[in-house]
């Protein structure tokens, strides 16, 4: 049987870009989907796009950076779809754009980047991981960035939140090592998305990856997690040859 067929997936930041492309790929393979985004308009547009391709998704309007939203998200999703098997932490904020030096970054903007990109994922995983543990099945994927590893000038708030997210992924993996729950951090590569345009408006789109292509690579990774040690940081390009050959 197809892996996705019997799988319930929650994707944060699911209304556009990589999150929506992942929803397409997983939905077409039969996964039950919950998409989270704070943007009502984008969410309903995403649901329409998906439904045009025969994919149904539950949309949940919520901000993962809001503590009060966490149990509402997991409650609504699991009420309608059943227990979550796969959690994809895809939502993130760049902080204020144009990107700026740390010297010019407001403290509140660092706090906000951490709330959305780090604390939100921690809270969601905390609400779901023990359930995965006792059911004997679970996968937690953190969408990372090369800004987690390289310190690019002006990417401070985002980069430090992504570096911390990578560590959060390793930390969960270490603590859950005796359990069936698997944890990965996935670096998708540079994609042609709204977020990338917000960060680098002048970039040549022909040098960037299509989110649809990256989504297929990531699904390949999610289908074959046994190839990667739990806690690994996986480059999506590593799954490229198999998908595109």
């Amino acid at each position: 049987m197809n892996w996705a067929d019997d799988t319930t997936v929650l994707i944060t930041g699911g209304s556009r870009g990589l999150g929506l492309a992942l929803a397409h790929e997983l939905g077409e393979r039969g996964a039950r989907l919950a998409l989270v985004s704070p943007h009502a308009g984008r969410l309903s547009a995403a649901a329409e796009q998906l439904s045009a391709r025969g994919v149904r998704a539950l949309t949940i309007r919520a901000d993962v950076g809001d503590k009060e939203a966490i149990h509402r998200i997991v409650g609504q999703a699991q009420a309608v779809l059943g227990p979550i098997d796969v959690l994809v932490h895809n939502a993130s904020t760049l902080g204020p754009t144009p990107l700026r030096s740390l010297l010019d970054t407001d403290c509140e903007d660092v706090t906000r980047a951490l709330e959305v990109n780090l604390v939100g994922p921690f809270r969601l995983t905390k609400a779901l991981a023990a359930g995965m543990l006792v059911r004997g099945r679970g996968l937690i994927a953190h969408i990372s960035s090369d800004a987690a590893v390289e310190s690019y000038p002006d990417w401070g708030a985002y980069g430090l939140s992504k570096a911390a997210l990578d560590h959060l992924s390793r930390q969960w993996a270490a603590e859950l090592s005796n359990t069936p729950v698997r944890v990965l951090s996935i670096d998708p590569g540079e994609m042609d998305t709204d977020m990338h345009r917000d960060a680098l408006p002048g970039a040549d789109p022909s040098t960037l990856l299509a989110p649809q292509l990256v989504a297929r690579r990531i699904v390949r990774i999610l289908e074959n997690t046994a190839r990667y040690p739990s806690g690994a940081r996986v480059l999506a390009t590593h799954a490229a040859e198999e998908v595109e050959s």
Partner: protein, 351 residues
């Protein structure tokens, strides 16, 4: 976490041990649970998440009332108990009665109007409500407008995260399956390391109190449960190797024994638990249970009599009271099991 809940968390959970074969009683702490079990045993937990089942509503005349759902809004109509004005600082049984409502009357909750489609003969507080929304929209409303059922002994209002077990998944319970509170993340990992299997079922744990004597006497009402096939397989292999099936909470006992009574063996799938266990019930599947501290007169106490000789149960209750064990949802715990103390917790046990 609220200050009250976190203070109780910090205080730790005392664990009363009752060996239901030798009738010995001892005292311990919840952190000892992994050491008290071994790799032959199976722990079965209720993975129901707790709903924000309490809603503030207004009648057509503008009278305020509290709606406590008896079940999640999975169907177009939902059973609920209505309470009059006042809040959780007043004990449920002392709350004003709700305004008298009849089928056809409406209750406004936020922007949505619910309709009363039936009033129970058992009590005018017990009604059936119709939702004018689809499944997903009912839960959007509930999570936006609802709060967890509160307890008069907790000073600060409980948030939704205060009333979840660590492994909560589908939101089926209207009050926390509180017997699982001692099962922290660290304890689950310790059980995994020790090789003690954990299996799940989902049981829609209902209200502990309705504020109406006639209704309270009828509790627990039938409650929906779902047993996964993997749990049935684990129960069978546990019994085959002579291990103990340890239920976490009375809701798990009720679901497993109800299924076994219906089919002769536990069967996978959904059903509604109607069985009420007492001293005359002979459990078919469950060897014993982890539960809260219960006093004579409670339905939970009656259920314990299905596992424990009444003199032993009375001795345990007296000891718990004398030594100041906390009895409520955020209180201490008790483990009722055969061969718990007889030959020493770590010594090999006759199968």
């Amino acid at each position: 976490m609220t200050a009250a809940a976190s203070a109780q968390h910090a205080a730790g959970t005392r664990l009363l041990l009752v060996d239901t074969r030798s009738d010995e009683i001892a005292e311990s702490e919840s952190s000892a649970i992994p050491r008290l079990l071994d790799a032959r045993d199976l722990l079965v937990v209720n993975d129901a998440a707790t709903l924000p089942a309490s809603l503030v509503g207004f009648t057509a005349c503008g009278e305020q009332l509290e709606i406590r759902l008896l079940e999640g809004p999975y169907q177009e109509t939902t059973r609920a108990v209505l309470l009059g004005r006042g809040d959780y600082h007043i004990k449920t049984e002392l709350r004003d009665p709700p305004p008298v409502l009849a089928p056809g009357d409406t209750i406004a909750v936020g922007p949505v109007t619910l309709q009363i489609c039936a009033v129970s003969r058992l009590s005018p507080r017990l009604v059936e409500l119709r939702w004018p929304l689809d499944l997903a929209a009912r839960f959007v409303l509930l999570y936006r407008a609802g709060r967890p059922v509160q307890y008069s002994y907790v000073e600060q209002p409980l948030a939704l995260w205060d009333v979840q077990t660590t492994f909560a998944a589908r939101p089926w319970a209207v009050e926390m399956p509180s017997a699982a509170r001692p099962l922290t993340g660290a304890l689950l990992l310790a059980l995994a390391t020790r090789g003690v299997e954990v299996a799940t079922l989902t049981h829609a744990a209902g209200l502990s109190s309705s504020g109406d004597a006639a209704l309270d006497a009828a509790l627990p009402l039938p409650e929906r449960y779902d047993i996964p096939p993997a749990t049935v397989r684990r129960i069978e292999s546990t019994r085959a190797r002579g291990g103990r099936v340890v239920a976490v909470g009375t809701s798990v006992v009720r679901a497993l024994e109800d299924s076994a009574l219906r089919h002769g063996v536990v069967r996978a799938g959904e059903a509604s638990a109607e069985l009420i266990l007492d001293q005359d019930t002979t459990p078919r599947v469950v060897s014993g249970l982890l539960t809260g501290i219960h006093a004579p007169g409670e339905s939970h106490y009656k259920l314990l009599a299905a596992f424990t000789r009444s003199a032993t149960l009375a001795r345990a209750a007296a000891l718990a009271e004398g030594h100041g064990y906390r009895m409520h949802e955020f209180g201490d715990a008790a483990l009722f099991l055969p061969d718990l103390l007889a030959s020493g917790a770590s010594a090999p046990r006759a199968a």
